[in-house]
Amino acid sequence: MSSVSAPRAKRWLPAWLGTQATLGPLFIAPYVIFLVAIFAYPLGFAIYMSFHDYFFTAPGAEVERPFVGFANYATVLADPAVRQSFANIAVFLVINVPLTVALSLVLATALNGAIRFRTFFRVSYYVPYITASVAVVGVWLFLFNSRGLVNTLLGPLAPDPSWLINERLAMPTIALYVTWKGLGFYILLYLAALQNVPKELYESASVDGAGRWRSFWAVTVPGVRPATILVVILSTITGANLFTEPYLLTGGGGPDGASSSPVLLMYQRGIEQGNPDIASAIGVILVIAILLVALIQRRLLDER
């Protein structure tokens, strides 16, 4: 394995500078500086704001910003609109995450075995992921309109009131949209994982007489467990931070707040109404909630 530089290479760096202990931090320094400047500082500032009666002012304006302890958090937790938005996100995740896992695994498996038109299929699944929501939402609004294509096709089965203005169906419709949009990414994750499932396992399964369906459950699903964990956690995080879709698809909260999300409320309260202290409190609660859920998911799925 000595295809590297000549043995006993000339050192143009002093020995201590070349060690892992110094180069490690050096290599990682730009990234760390980036993290501190772009994330840590604003995040710290946001947390700071959540404990004060805070609003932004022009530079040089003298304003009182008293420390208020947990008052903002109390207000937020008591606010029915906030509680509703968290409930909405829970509904969203319950639909989106299992659907994403199931569909992406099934489609990836199908794609894995397909030899012909592979490029076409792969491109078609990835296209929604790479286009901006801003662009695609208009089409969806058209399609799911009360007189749109979907309802026309469904005929008498069409829900009334129609999808996005139905307070029971608004969030599920958004969940459907987001699932559709993100599937390409997860399909690729699964495609990768499928490559790593040893072929011998499939062969021995078929030798044992297992049909396609059984070998799917017995070999494929356990074989891609690490990928499944990743898909579950990533889609949970993305789903919990949902903003663009409620904002664009239901114009800010939907029928009676049925499709509002915590981040949407943060945007409304913090940026539109000028209460960044309340918005930060919502944000901190959201981050803590996501971390807890992700931890639980990882614990549950890893055990087996």
Binding site: A40, G44, T57, A58, P59, G60, A81, I165, E272, G274
Partner: protein, 428 residues
């Protein structure tokens, strides 16, 4: 567990850093005497850009050492975010010709606006130009933090073709009382002449009430604002009547509960639309249109019917260094000549008293605008109170819940909203 500890440690460290840093930045030098080049912003719709450019050119030609540079910002709700962020960052321009009156209380609270009263003769200038309506634009401390610039008084546009198809007199349609309006609407929809009678946007943004509830409320109460003297009045009789009227429209499916992503009126899907004079330019060529004032419960004469002003004003921002220049530019941009150009190029109504008398030629050649000019004298603005945006959002949520989607009874919802809004309006 170790992971949690290391994360918390990291966060604590950054918190300390953040607290120590605070918010740096220097305050702008504030001299009402200072002169020099300035920056302005205006909205990005075609006609206003054209007006803005010629105004800037005209000024720059005569004041080469006090040059104005202009940039565009998008009109619409996102402009408030942009302006608020600019105030915070300290890089707002001297003048913004796109300041929404509803946002002024917030910008004022942020310390972002210069009280125009600082300039000699400013209050008189404003009141002379705009007349009595200028009262509505004063802030709680009695000063003007905005200059009322132009308004787009909203009225009911209707599609004459659709009306004729439905068998209604298109020249004198019965639209002045609620009962008449509802009957007309029913006829339109049941005859199949259009899908819906009217289609205001049913979405929940805070500014939507300005185009459904508020104009009719202004008309019904003879010119009252949503909140007057710190108390909200919309839960009283008149407000309830307006809300019930809209509720009937939604209940009988004469208005749609769904948002439409195109232009329903332009596409002939709907017979009427609440819009300001800008709509003349949009629909003038392609549609045979008519316009009437908004309805009231017992029918008022057009010269007594108020409406919402949909005004956009100009404000001076504290980041401005050369304020004397800025004030002069402001006076220049609202002079009789420039107001006339604004009228000509955009069709929007400068907030100047007695428009038809001041610009007789224009109105002679554009009679369609006369109705709006007359209406422009009877406008109601959003109340200039603290937390104004939150107030409108609270109102919209209650309205959406009860009137549009019928989830809660109207009177109870309006009462609750009124209480909450009274609280918000009385905060500092």
């Amino acid at each position: 567990m170790k992971r949690i500890i290391s994360i918390t440690a990291g966060l604590a460290a950054t918190l300390l850093v953040a607290a120590a840093c605070g918010d740096g930045g220097q305050s702008a030098s504030e001299s009402t005497e200072s002169r020099g080049p300035i920056k302005i912003w205006y909205s990005n719709n075609e006609q206003e850009i054209a007006w803005g450019k010629q105004m800037v050119e005209a000024w720059n030609a005569e004041h080469p050492d006090e040059k104005v540079t202009a940039q565009q910002i998008p009109e619409g709700s996102s402009s408030e975010e942009v302006i608020s962020a600019a105030i915070t960052a300290g890089n707002a321009p001297c003048l913004i010709f796109n300041t929404a009156p509803a946002a002024v209380p917030q910008f004022q609270k942020q310390g972002g606006l210069v009280p125009l009263d600082d300039f000699e003769g400013a209050a008189e200038y404003i009141e002379e130009r705009t007349g009595d309506r200028a009262e509505q634009y004063k802030s709680a401390d009695g000063k003007y933090y905005q200059l009322p610039w132009k308004s787009n008084p909203v009225m009911i546009f209707y599609n004459k073709e659709i009306f004729t198809k439905a068998g209604i007199d298109a020249e004198n349609p019965p639209l002045s009382t609620y009962d008449e309006f509802l009957d007309t609407a029913r006829k339109i929809v049941s005859s199949g002449a259009a899908e819906y009678a009217i289609w205001p946007s049913p979405t929940s943004e805070f500014y939507q009430p300005w185009f459904d509830f508020y104009p009719l409320y202004a008309a019904e109460t003879g010119g009252k604002q949503l909140v007057e003297d710190g108390k909200s009045g919309f839960a009283a009789e008149e407000g309830q009547r307006v809300a019930e009227f809209w509720k009937t429209l939604y209940d009988e499916n004469l208005a749609s509960r769904e948002a439409y992503s195109g232009d329903a009126f332009g596409e002939g899907k709907v017979a009427m639309r609440i819009a300001g004079p800008w709509a003349i330019a949009s629909y003038g060529e392609s549609m045979d249109w008519g316009v009437v004032p908004v309805p009231t419960s017992d029918g008022k004469a057009p010269d007594e019917t108020y409406t919402f002003s949909d005004a956009k004003n100009v404000a001076m921002y504290t980041a401005c260094e050369h304020r004397a220049t800025a004030w002069d530019v402001l006076k220049f941009a609202t002079s009789e000549k420039q107001d006339g150009k604004l009228l000509e190029m955009t069709g929007q109504m400068p907030m100047r008293e007695g428009l038809p008398e001041t610009y007789p030629d224009y109105f002679a050649s554009h009679p369609e605008y006369e109705t709006f000019a007359a209406q422009a004298d009877l406008t109601v603005e959003v109340p200039n109170v603290p937390n104004s945006i939150e107030i409108w959002q609270t109102f919209r949520d209650a309205y959406s819940r009860s009137v549009i989607f019928g989830k809660q009874p109207v009177d109870a919802e309006l009462e609750r909203a009124a209480q909450k809004i009274d609280e918000l309006a009385s905060q500092e």
